[in-house]
Amino acid sequence: MLRTEEMLLNVGPQHPSTHGVLRLVVKIDGERIVEVEPVIGYLHRGTEKLAEDLNYTQIIPYTDRMDYLSAMTNNYALVHAVEKMMGLEIPERADYLRVIVMELNRIASHLVWMGTYLLDIGAMSPFLYAFRDREQILSLFNELCGARLTYNYMRVGGVKWDAPPGWIEKADAFVDYLLPQMDEYHGLITGNEIFVRRTKGIGIVSQELAIQYALSGANLRVSGSDWDLRKKEPYSLYDRFQFDVPVGKNGDLYDKYLCRMQEIVESLKIVKQAIDQFPEKGTIMGKVPRVLRVPEGEIYTGIESPRGELGCHIVSKGKDKPWRLKFRRPSFYNLQILPTLLVGESISNLVAILGGIDIVLGEVDC
């Protein structure tokens, strides 16, 4: 090998492929990465601290802004923890609506991931196709709660809005539309030799390493572990649905891609079943006291967000505000493995590996 000069390269925070404002200080030797130091915090808004001064309903819009690609699951993480602590009963109709929007949101989030990931490795068109399909989900949400990104939809004890007439049918039609559409994506991307060569065998995460770094979501499942909280610790109504947890074999980026694509299909299956079982009538808000006073104590609940285990840890002193609120944001935990994965890789794999982790900076910085 030729001796070359080490160079310090600053990637971000305004770099198009860091998906927000992540900064990476990369030391490279030629094209090889010697050291990586992620610098985070550019999007820190102090959500957890702010929450200590807000009552539980007021916190919900703040959770929207954490993982802004799947705000529904964020909403749910909070209300689920509060409901569990207060021991509230949720009306069935509300629970079904929650599952439908959460799964649709998971699909939307994975579609964004797929599009931007392909954009990162240089293919332009899948991005636009993915956004075309995601747009339909956003329209559905728009009709349901009036917002396209930050929904503020769930409430402790139920959901804020009932499905407008015809909404369920529209959601059903969307599921029927997207399922065959997945074949188009596979035709365009999955078999593409260039794509396969850029992702197969790259960024391999072994199961042991993944567990050591507390990875969750597709980042963990890709290494062969079938850890999915929807199956392992079913919350909401997930024990009523038939679905599989896609796992990878090799732990590389290609498997990650396949995993996430399969997760879209599984989510579609769940939405389909939820729509079939959807109760015709019913209320959408359970019996909830006017002022939400959570009994004194502590609780941790985890749910499966598109990015992994989204935990919510509440410490309550019996007031209407949390004494301390802590979110276990999957992106933050998943990002930690990045330096380990990148050292020794070529700089041209940087973007591919970073993109594969699927981070949302709003969630990393919180």
Partner: protein
């Protein structure tokens, strides 16, 4: 001095500039259609003046030269990148009558002169005094040099068949059969290598916006930047013309449809090549830099060499030799 000889190149420059304007619009439209969006449609009817507006914007932009840049080289680089792009057009015969120079070593002239552009790119990247620009320039240069070799090797089959380096003679040799058929291997190698020479998807690493932000021209603005872009599109023009001349029979009409003038056939074939460039851009992801090099040296070059061998052998095979000995 012959007035045609003086006015011709000026006219060609305007034709090329017109082509570049339309090609950029066409590219954005085609990719737009493929991606199910309308493409540019604000400036002028059907967005026809979009590129004009873009160029105007570039021209009235502030001309920024980074203070730590090597100023003379920074200013010189776009010109050095552009001049060869236009100079290579001199040897390309568009029809029997519409050609500028009957250069005896036409193909070699094209390949040689086009390699000077790499110096311009390296100069620009180095003079910018920016790490991204430097990396981009080095990638670009390494890529263009590596792919120049299979590019040259892939046309050797044609040269063997025709026995001349003159582009006009090459076109005339394709009166019966276009070289894309007997020289299909050569065509495949040539087309892939030319994609790479043109820095187009899937080989657009020098401008990998997701990795290098923009590549060698990050620090350039205004019309210096426009010059880099211009030279890239002039190369599209030149390379599509060269592909037409070498493999698609130039101005020769297919199926004996000679009542349609040769220039129309040339333009049609030329547009087909240009369209496929855009089409590929909308479909393919980008290859990685090490795979790019591997592909040039381990796949394209052996295939090109095999093509030479094959051509030489087939020249001696009865019934087939008419395809290979013209």
């Amino acid at each position: 001095m012959n007035p045609v000889l003086v006015m011709g190149p000026i006219l060609l420059l305007f034709v090329v500039l017109g082509f570049v304007t339309m090609a950029i619009l066409f590219e954005r439209k085609v990719i737009g259609w493929i991606q199910m969006r309308p493409g540019p449609n604000r400036v002028g009817p059907w967005g026809i003046l979009q590129t004009v507006a873009d160029v105007l914007k570039l021209l009235i932009k502030e001309d920024i030269i980074p203070s730590k840049a090597d100023k003379p080289l920074f200013k010189l680089a776009p010109a050095i990148a552009f001049i060869p792009a236009f100079a290579v057009l001199a040897v390309i015969p568009f029809t029997e009558s519409l050609q500028f120079s009957q250069f005896a070593v036409g193909i070699l002239y094209y390949l040689a002169v086009s390699s000077i552009t790499i110096i311009g790119i390296l100069m620009g990247g180095w003079a910018s005094n920016n790490k991204y620009a430097l990396l981009g320039a080095m990638r670009s240069a390494a890529q263009m040099i590596s792919y120049e070799i299979p590019l040259v090797m892939s046309v050797v089959g044609i040269i063997l068949s025709v026995g001349s380096l003159n582009l006009v003679e090459i076109v005339e040799a394709q009166k019966q059969v276009w070289f894309i058929f007997p020289q299909f291997l050569g065509f495949a190698v040539f087309f892939i290598a030319s994609l790479s020479e043109l820095n187009r998807t899937p080989f657009d690493l020098p401008e990998a916006e997701s990795e290098l932000v923009a590549g060698y021209h990050v620090e350039y603005t205004g019309f210096r930047f426009a010059f880099f872009m211009l030279s890239e599109y002039v190369y599209v023009f030149a390379m599509a013309s060269l592909t037409t001349v070498l493999f698609l029979g130039g101005w020769n009409a297919p199926f004996g449809l000679t009542m349609i003038p040769g220039i129309v056939w040339f333009v049609l074939k030329f547009l087909l090549i240009v369209f496929s460039l855009f089409w590929i851009r909308a479909t393919m992801p980008r290859v990685r830099v090490d795979q790019l090099m591997e592909f040039a040296w381990k796949v394209l070059l052996p295939v090109a060499l095999f093509n030479i061998l094959l051509t030489a052998v087939l020249q001696e095979v009865p019934y087939l030799d008419f395809l290979y000995r013209l």
